[in-house]
């Protein structure tokens, strides 16, 4: 995928919960849970529903690193 976004993570949608304008999309990426807040419009246009294969895009500047 030719995008400047450095983190492109294959995932499967596990649930989509819709608010008025914003939808929270939960995904499973090889056992890791990811959540995206996107518009309801985007969720509908992309046909996001449980089971759909997607790619989660996260810019490098948005990733924090923690150690235990």
């Amino acid at each position: 995928m030719k995008l400047s976004t450095r983190n492109q993570i294959k995932a499967t949608v596990t649930s989509v919960s819709q608010g008025e304008a914003i939808a929270n999309v939960e995904m499973d990426a090889g056992g890791q849970r990811l959540v995206a807040s996107i518009t309801v419009e985007a969720a509908r246009e992309l046909g996001l529903e449980a089971g759909r294969e997607v790619t989660a895009l996260i810019k490098a500047s948005d990733v924090m690193v923690a150690v235990e």
Binding site: K2, T39, V40, S61
Partner: protein
């Protein structure tokens, strides 16, 4: 605590500014040139008289035009760091510092001055004349001299702007040391948001002689009250006309062409503000189907390093800036002239009051 209430006319500008800075805190006055920020400093220091005003520091009133109090500049205990440092060229570094220690007995001045220079890492340059010093070294001598006067307030006028990028990080640390040592109220004047964010505890944005927003650098960046403030923080600011849609989103017809969606509310003439690090670039003209609602097509106009990232300027009917890694630039060939699509999320799109 330093408090100032100042009104006056400066050429075309009507200055009307109130500020208060607690002890050991630094307030940055951020604004473009001509906004009146340096005049505020000069009025606090007593170098310019406001038409009406009051300045007090601790329990001392420096100026009160209502009661006729007006202390001369040398009796206001403020350490003023000028943009060009204003060192005496005919004096060695230590004599420059000692000049501010005239209250000390003559015999003790040399040792005290060298000690202060040492504190800023330039003790070995005590006998050098300012002309032989680098910009960073001159700054340190000026800071040592400022501390030598044992000030009860610090006034810093663009203290880093005379330095090149490579010495700025070190000079910033030296300034923070000065602020920590002096532990007095400090007013920093700058046109550079990053400088304000690096040094000050709080930032007050001054526009046409008035403070229009005051808060932490993070607050200003996340919730600018106007296009003017957003622009100063380095955000991409685009003008347009907003319409509320039935689904709760706001659609903005952009002045430079195209539309944008925002999850913020807005109506009529507005500006949108997006941070460069929220914008993703895709080379070519086709858009991959993503959830990002906002896409503008354009061409890369310049690529400039900022820290270890790159700021890619894109002309897309309106100027945009995206922040990407060097790795992304290399892999996608993001060079000037390259056609790209810039994308960002509706949830990352802030609606702010339009500028003039």
């Amino acid at each position: 605590m330093l408090r100032a209430e100042l009104t006056g006319t400066l050429g075309e500008l009507e200055l009307d500014t109130r500020l208060d800075v607690p002890d050991a805190r630094c307030l940055a006055l951020l604004g473009p040139s001509g906004a009146g920020k340096s005049s505020v400093l000069r009025m606090i220091a007593g170098l310019v008289r406001p038409r009406r005003g009051r300045v007090e520091c601790g329990n001392h009133v420096w100026l009160d035009t209502d009661t006729g109090v007006e202390l001369a500049p040398e009796r206001r205990r403020c350490g003023y760091v000028f943009q060009d440092y204003a060192l005496f060229g005919h004096m060695s570094a230590w004599r420059n510092v000692a000049y501010a220690q005239r209250r000390l007995p003559r015999a003790r001045r040399h040792r005290a001055a060298v000690e202060l220079l040492d504190r800023f890492g330039v003790g070995r340059l005590a006998d050098a004349r300012p002309a032989t010093l680098s910009g960073g070294e001159r700054q340190r001598v000026a800071l040592a001299r400022t501390l030598a006067s044992n000030p009860s307030a610090l006034l810093l006028d663009e203290p880093l702007s005379a330095l090149d990028v490579s010495t700025r990080a070190k000079a910033t640390r030296a300034l923070l040391e000065l602020l920590g040592d002096a532990a007095v109220p400090t007013v920093l004047v700058t046109h550079d948001f990053d400088e304000a964010a690096a040094i000050a505890d709080e930032v007050a944005v001054i526009e046409d002689g008035r403070i229009v927003q005051r808060g932490s650098a993070e607050e200003l960046s996340a919730r600018p009250v106007s296009a003017f403030v957003a622009d100063l923080t380095g955000a991409v600011v685009l003008g347009g006309v907003a319409v509320r849609r039935p689904d709760g989103l706001t659609e903005i017809a952009l002045e430079g062409g195209g539309t944008a969606l925002s999850t913020d509310a807005g109506e009529g003439r507005v500006a949108i503000s997006v941070h460069p690090w929220e914008i993703t670039l895709e080379p070519g003209a086709a858009t991959i189907d993503t959830s990002a609602r906002n896409h503008l097509r354009g061409r890369v106009s310049s690529v400039r390093p900022v820290g270890n990232r790159l700021r890619v300027a894109v002309e897309a009917g309106q100027p945009l800036v995206a922040e990407v890694t060097a790795d992304a630039r290399d892999q996608l060939g993001l060079e000037p002239g390259r056609k790209v699509v810039a994308s960002w999320k509706a949830t990352a799109t802030r609606i702010v009051a339009a500028g003039d």
